[in-house]
Subunit: 265 residues, 2 copies
Amino acid sequence: MNAAPIGIFDSGLGGLTVARAIFERLPHESTVYFGDTARVPYGPKSPETVRRYSLEILQWLLAQGVKAVVIACNTSTAHALQALRDASPVPVVGVIEPGARAAIAGSHGRVGVIGTAGTIASGAYRRAIEARAPDFEVFQQACPLFVPLVEEGWFDHPAARLIAAEYLRPLREAAVDALVLGCTHYPLLKPLLQAEMGPDVRLIDSGEETARALEEILARNGITGAAGGASSHRFVVSDDEARFRSVGARFIGERLSGAEVVPLG
Amino acid sequence: MNAAPIGIFDSGLGGLTVARAIFERLPHESTVYFGDTARVPYGPKSPETVRRYSLEILQWLLAQGVKAVVIACNTSTAHALQALRDASPVPVVGVIEPGARAAIAGSHGRVGVIGTAGTIASGAYRRAIEARAPDFEVFQQACPLFVPLVEEGWFDHPAARLIAAEYLRPLREAAVDALVLGCTHYPLLKPLLQAEMGPDVRLIDSGEETARALEEILARNGITGAAGGASSHRFVVSDDEARFRSVGARFIGERLSGAEVVPLG
């Protein structure tokens, strides 16, 4: 049993959907969430830059005494997971492997992946799926307008439906039977995406799958928090606390009463 | 006569609409454009951070021998114009004053201003208009989805029309007779915005007004380039040259054959 907190980080707000999935699956675990709002978004930055920023955050989280680290950011997972595993004395979990594994388990061989332009260009989900299931076909689609739609709160606006219809058309035509939400903002669009894809397509929420993977890793390492123990949740950002608080409330509700500001780098 | 180049900078791509307006109005002037793509967007960053980044870029442009500097970024103009004027030995022009002056000249007293969430929250256009025309009424509207729509190239997509209709409804209801495009991305949406507002509303393109103001400042300081002289245009970014080139082509076409990469900070 280990009462130390779990470190969770993202380039900004989106990782809060992963944090929420962890709160729900592991209600006795404490967490420290770091959102690098001063340097968001990571997507358009070079892999070297993303690795450097991610390593800075890892060091900061380790200084807070975390017992495990969750990279709640697809871009950082794609570019920095291995570097963080090499540098970290505690286990590090990314969002891509758990999402890819769940997609394989939930599909008969035709998987769609949606994400930001950066995540899709990185091909990280495609590689993770094809490495484990070489006979699977993976169809990718960048959806750059989904993040601003979510941050605007237009989860069911007619414009959101038109945009989703356009982005998802190639995936519907490809008859995928599973759709990986390869961006941490997208779980807030689930009803819209499910309606657009139809009831037979399974949506894979990488955040939920990552919470499940984290649970296994804590158990395997014997560092699970005490059942019945009180948990606490800290939120820290590198800039613009007010926007994080107001938009972040859409992601995890009243749990987000405020955030500390710690500039990095 | 002075053949030195004009420095132009923005947090990223958007300032290319200002650069284009300068190319058209001042075809004999050479330019150096700096897009801070490693640190885009500036909107959500604190005023202090924006000032620090802007001063770094000013120093870099001065080291390139520029004879004047154009801040082709609304956020940087709002937070850093005075600091840059204090620090610069050459004239510095921002986009807000020229836009505000043109709005006053083109309106009978009811002006709409659209921009990113950060620009609208800063109130910079409202203050600039009210300082010169205290009897004017200014109606502001943040339009966070317009930048990603422009970068996606969806200038006349049905979703773009629905989004514009929703954002502009309060301004139509307020019966504004001039609309300031308070974000450098928005000139690419002009036909859509004009259709939505109706033919009697004058659209104020801050980039065009800034090019006009620059022309006056060059003349007043006796540093205009030689008419008939050859001009050259350099583009420099702090990261992700490939995306700057592909999306930037929407902004200024084939003039943007490539960009150098200079990391700052």
